[in-house]
Amino acid sequence: MKHLQKYILFFSILLLASSCRKENPDLNKPEDYIEGNFSEVFDSYWNGMNNNYVFWDIDTTNWDRVYDTYKPLFAKLNLYDSSDVVKGYGYFQEMTAGLIDSHYDISFKDSWLADQPSINPAYQRKVKQPDYHIPISIFNFYRTIPKKYLDAGSAVRGFTNTADRQYVAVTGRINQDILYFFCSAFNLKSLYENNDPANGVKPVLQAFFDNLKNTKNIKGVIIDVRGNGGGSLADLNFLMGKLVDKQVDFGQTRSKLSNGRLDYSPWAPAFVTPSPDGRNITAPIIALADSWSVSMAELTTMVIKSLPNGHFIGERTWGGNGPLTANKMYNGGQFSTSFLNLVYTSSLIFKYRDGNIYEGIGFPPDQEVKYDKAALDLEQDKQLEAALKLIR
């Protein structure tokens, strides 16, 4: 027992050292914060982004600096003062200005912000670019192309309206053996399976698929996704699966795995699975896309570019190609708070097969043909003409 004091001292030091672990931060679902003051509004949003935004690996926004700068600024605002609420809106604009996620969009619940547009950093950056232009009019695709470029009698066009979107599709032949297909957004599989007689997209799809099946010597296929705002990922197999007879690997995706900003899953392969009736088209397949081609339109373009006979003509795309789904599916991505209707953001990161991530910068064409307003006004589609020239 003469060593008892030494033992007590030794084990006391051990016990003291054992208390050196850090506490877990108090993290809660962003939507569970109460909208009681602007500090809560800030904390729910900042933590939601901190744990759910999937691009922290490559985004250059210093999110910790945002915390240090804006936490005290929000703390000074009064949630029940309309001018402070508008000032808070401005802070949200500043905080998000550099985020590279080009799907990113914040919409607000607060009635004092009802007149304010949602905050969309990619759009705000886009309008400041020197080569910014508005989307090509839908009438170029719906009226001019069938009238001027498609073979007489071959054009099939239609549209259908859903609660939140209009879907327009056009198809036809050019010089008998070049197939053309345009869609303004992706929800094709669902619309094809929808037997509503008012659904104008289904006949267009049927005509395109019939042409693919029945045209003996296809000289070229043009898939036109200019101005296409994206949509359902299921359409990738549904549409592109018809143009191939074996799997097409065109990139990889990864999601968040845990809460840390840099906690990611491994990269999983991104591929197109051929349809049972998929035909191996060996003629040139050309994607027409522009700076208004977003998300699924960009992925479709990337699939085409991955084909040995694939080409991409037009402009660099929008740059928002990370797939989206509910937060719970991949433990990351979009979320809401009591103040924010929705923080719309990607669930996964997409990396193209060349190893590059084109999020925020857009996918570049291999033949650039810029938007030409003067030509379009004269019903001349220079981008479509470049595609036809390449095929011929």
């Binding site: 050292a17 901190n50 845990s258 809460n259 900003r261 491994p266 991104a270 797939p323």
Partner: protein, 255 residues
């Protein structure tokens, strides 16, 4: 010159005597056993997501220096696995990642022994430093680009992997220098019994607990959820007196 040679000879003799004395008190050996690691962290509010402990193994080369008959200093350079798993449950069942984490570790402990001459109980207590040498990740994730066959209308769905089919992976863990802290410091405690056979081989069985004090991540973000290893070890091994190894003569255990 002669005095120099004489001084050198005396020095050598002294060193030899010290070494012999030290050899008599020094033991080395081998050990190995089972590990079970628990990653002390939090999944926060993640939907149906949890961390589970996982088994692994440890092998070591214990080195023990006897200060007297009840106290020794022991170092235990070893390779140890601190494995864990992150898995999703319920509707997301089947999605998981098993992390096989390898550390090269050096525990330094005070070894307190008690009991008879041959059969003794002992306590180990001290600290350790480890180096996160490598890892492997194996698992299943849902592949958003692999939707698989359509689910017929009206059919019930039991697993998320019916929507997005499984992607199985088994690959080397890629360190992220912005996040991963590869040095781990912590406390260690153990309890066991040892038996001296033929005054030459000291066999032991020990239960040990490694309590990590270093977050596995550098401080790279505000509101970071820390990750600490709690590792339980059940191991056995054998120690030999260094003098016996070199001189092939049995030496009694330290007095």
């Amino acid at each position: 010159m002669k005095s120099k040679h004489l001084s050198f000879a005396v020095l050598l003799w002294c060193l030899n005597m010290i070494t012999q004395a030290a050899q008599a008190q020094l033991e080395v050996g081998v050990s190995g056993g089972y590990t079970n690691n628990y990653l002390r962290t939090s999944t926060g509010y993640r939907t149906f997501t949890k961390y589970d402990n996982r088994s692994g193994f440890v092998i070591g080369i214990p080195v023990r220096y006897h200060v007297n008959n009840w106290l020794a200093i022991q170092a235990d350079p070893s390779y140890i696995q601190k494995n864990y798993e992150i898995k999703r449950t319920h509707f997301y069942d089947g999605i998981y990642q098993r992390n096989t984490i390898s550390y090269i570790q050096l525990p330094l402990m005070a070894h307190f022994s008690f009991g008879g001459k041959k059969l003794k109980g002992f306590l180990n207590a001290g600290g350790y430093a480890g180096y996160w040498a490598g890892g492997r990740i194996k698992g299943v994730m849902a592949n958003v680009f692999n939707s698989g066959p359509d689910i017929p209308a009206g059919e019930q769905i039991y697993k998320y992997l019916q929507f997005n089919q499984a992607y199985e992976y088994n690959e080397k863990y890629e360190f992220d220098s912005r996040r991963d802290r590869r040095i781990e410091l912590g406390l260690v405690g153990g309890i066991g019994v040892e038996y001296l056979l033929a005054d030459k081989f000291r066999f032991f069985v020990e239960g040990r607990y490694y309590y990590g004090l270093s977050d596995q991540q550098k401080n790279y973000m505000v509101n970071q959820i820390p990750r600490y290893n709690d590792t339980y070890v059940l191991q056995a091994g054998c120690l030999f007196s260094v003098r016996n190894l070199f001189h092939h003569a049995p030496v009694a255990a330290s007095k």
